[in-house]
Point group: C2
Chain length 434, copies 2
Amino acid sequence: MSKEYRPPRGFRDFPPEVMILRKELISKIENVFKRYGFDPLDTPAVEYWETLAGKYGEEAENRLIWKFKDPWSDREYALRYDLTVPLARFVSSHPEIQMPFKRYQISPVWRHEEPQKGRYREFYQCDADIVGSPYPEADAEMINLIVDSIKSLGFESGFSLRLNDRRLLSGIFEQELNIKSPLAVYRIIDKLDKIGIDNVKKELLEQINNEEIVNKIIEVISLSGKPEEILENLYSKYGRNKLVNDAYNHLKEMLDLINNKNDIIIDLSLVRGLDYYTGPIYEVVLKEPKIGSVSGGGRYDNLAGIFSGKQIPATGGSIGIERIIDAGLELGLFNLNKKTFTEIQVIFMSQDLFKHAWHIANILRSEGYNVRIDLNRSKEELQRRKANKLDIKLLIFIGKKEIETNTVTIYNTKTNERANLNINELKDKIKQYL
Amino acid sequence: MSKEYRPPRGFRDFPPEVMILRKELISKIENVFKRYGFDPLDTPAVEYWETLAGKYGEEAENRLIWKFKDPWSDREYALRYDLTVPLARFVSSHPEIQMPFKRYQISPVWRHEEPQKGRYREFYQCDADIVGSPYPEADAEMINLIVDSIKSLGFESGFSLRLNDRRLLSGIFEQELNIKSPLAVYRIIDKLDKIGIDNVKKELLEQINNEEIVNKIIEVISLSGKPEEILENLYSKYGRNKLVNDAYNHLKEMLDLINNKNDIIIDLSLVRGLDYYTGPIYEVVLKEPKIGSVSGGGRYDNLAGIFSGKQIPATGGSIGIERIIDAGLELGLFNLNKKTFTEIQVIFMSQDLFKHAWHIANILRSEGYNVRIDLNRSKEELQRRKANKLDIKLLIFIGKKEIETNTVTIYNTKTNERANLNINELKDKIKQYL
């Protein structure tokens, strides 16, 4: 038979020790989402190609979306590329839902990337979105939620949230500086972190060929720092522009509702790739390690209604769990030490005691404990060795002596505590030893 | 833009009220899996086509597996068809893992079925498998786990587990009755529930053309009932056959370790479709409604090692959450009444009190409560109406009077209980009203 037994290139298996950590982190994020009043929605992994077409820009469309034809109907399908367009589709087909619709979805998405460190072809997005509110309150709630989520994972202060607004970019670059090819300019600005300010300037000069304008662009994208200062600075220079003025007021109101303003910097060089943003945009970057953003989002007032033709304001954010895990492991915030959910191993000293041990295991399971018992007729020593490898906390020994006295011997491998318990008191007393 | 806003045919969106139920049920199943000492594994949605090829039989291969070519590399991929073959691939590429490897995976799989009631193109499987034990203990643990899972969902006694063994089928039909085209015969037997015994007999006669043999087949597949009786009956007739004898001993040992023997019937007409089973096989069928099996599994000693060429014994089972939900809703065991995880809505009597209400909402969130606050500058009455539609239990009112007295007014919509609490005691006292 086939010798191919790797997962496809860019895809990964997650063994138990990784899954146990992933589940713990995802559950923390999910709890924060719920605390902010978000509820779960699930959309399918597969969408009609038409649903995704025209939403993500050229590169995604031509290269990154996994599309395929149904060989039976010739209809074109695609694996979902993010969770936002499926949300927009859902909202459009459910005019009855109550607005604002606050939903979260924690699911894999698929992108045909060239695999590299921190970049996979299947990865999870933890998304929360508010559909149906145009107000700064909604954007502020999103930012509080994102910051709380990152903190709940243990990144107390080792991050900052970079905030910008698409209207600042349009107002200043497209209207005030009158740049004719803004998308090309944004694409260059987007590379700032990677190539540095000098190279950005060089590329801008090639693109625009007007040093005065380029200098003004450089001046604007160099604005980064405390929200109030940057905003007032911008207002004094470009406040006459309607879009800048709108963004200024919106961001001011938002900032007034943000819990931890110390985590926020306004950064005019933040562009974000996705085409659909229309208002505030943000990204969370860890101070260490340098692995790009671990979260991002923004307002997209023209997407949620795109399928139904109505305008529906929306704002949302996404947390990338894979980079967070890579970073947390590197920082020593997380570890892969927990190899099993199993708390108790029941060990029989000889095979003739197996049935009794099985009975004890089932009693403990019915009490809600996670229990293993050897299924390979192993000798007692091997049973212990296997339990040790999985780092199981509590061992319960069943020997002849125990059966005669209607007891079990329990041993906590962490504290070296030992006890002999009567079977009738096992249920009540076991908790003390765990 | 595109007017296409349905999910693809055979795929579904799950709105919050459905997701809340699904999450609750899946979490119950997962807890039972953990109690039996199983740990999570995750494999990707996408596999190389070669990984799946040749594992599931002709129909799956030619019609049901979603396959597609990578347009860039021309390499063939497929969406996973079940969770068992990916597990086998994982085990083969990880010779270091400790046996027995007890893993669970709760994930969607994709099948290109013709959509119909209870049959979807994307559906979740809740799988638990024990890799590395050839013993009846492992099969018994699987059956105890499956029965406990079904019971944990609320199906106390409304089901039965039909048990058979592939070795009984091979020993009796292929060796004792000397049937030359067993697969065709099994396929006919498999239709018993749908077409009835008379039609099975008719089709068998067409296939075999020997009334004596057909009568013997009918006699065998009509054996169904209490495990001990059926086993002894079989043993007296076919016990001389090595396969029948092996199955007899294996099943006897298993049954000795099963907690609820009343839930089990041995049923010689149980065939199960998948090609890879080699020992005990089983299915769980609800008494009402008649929707086919909600769970199934068995031993497959030749699959887990197929990629590495070593023989690795394995046994496992799968629970189908979609049919269970359909059935539970029909029976009234489940409902979709819970529309939100949100427990508390903070209501501001006028917009100028918003910031204070926001502050209260954030205090409650930091205490771990799930809290909503209006984000649309709605009038107080509309805020209440929206909270009512979501059936949110506790309302907290912030009015001028409350602000003056540093209090909030709380109202439990279920009990009609009302109270005025000082903000300083809110954290401690709110629990009593939830």
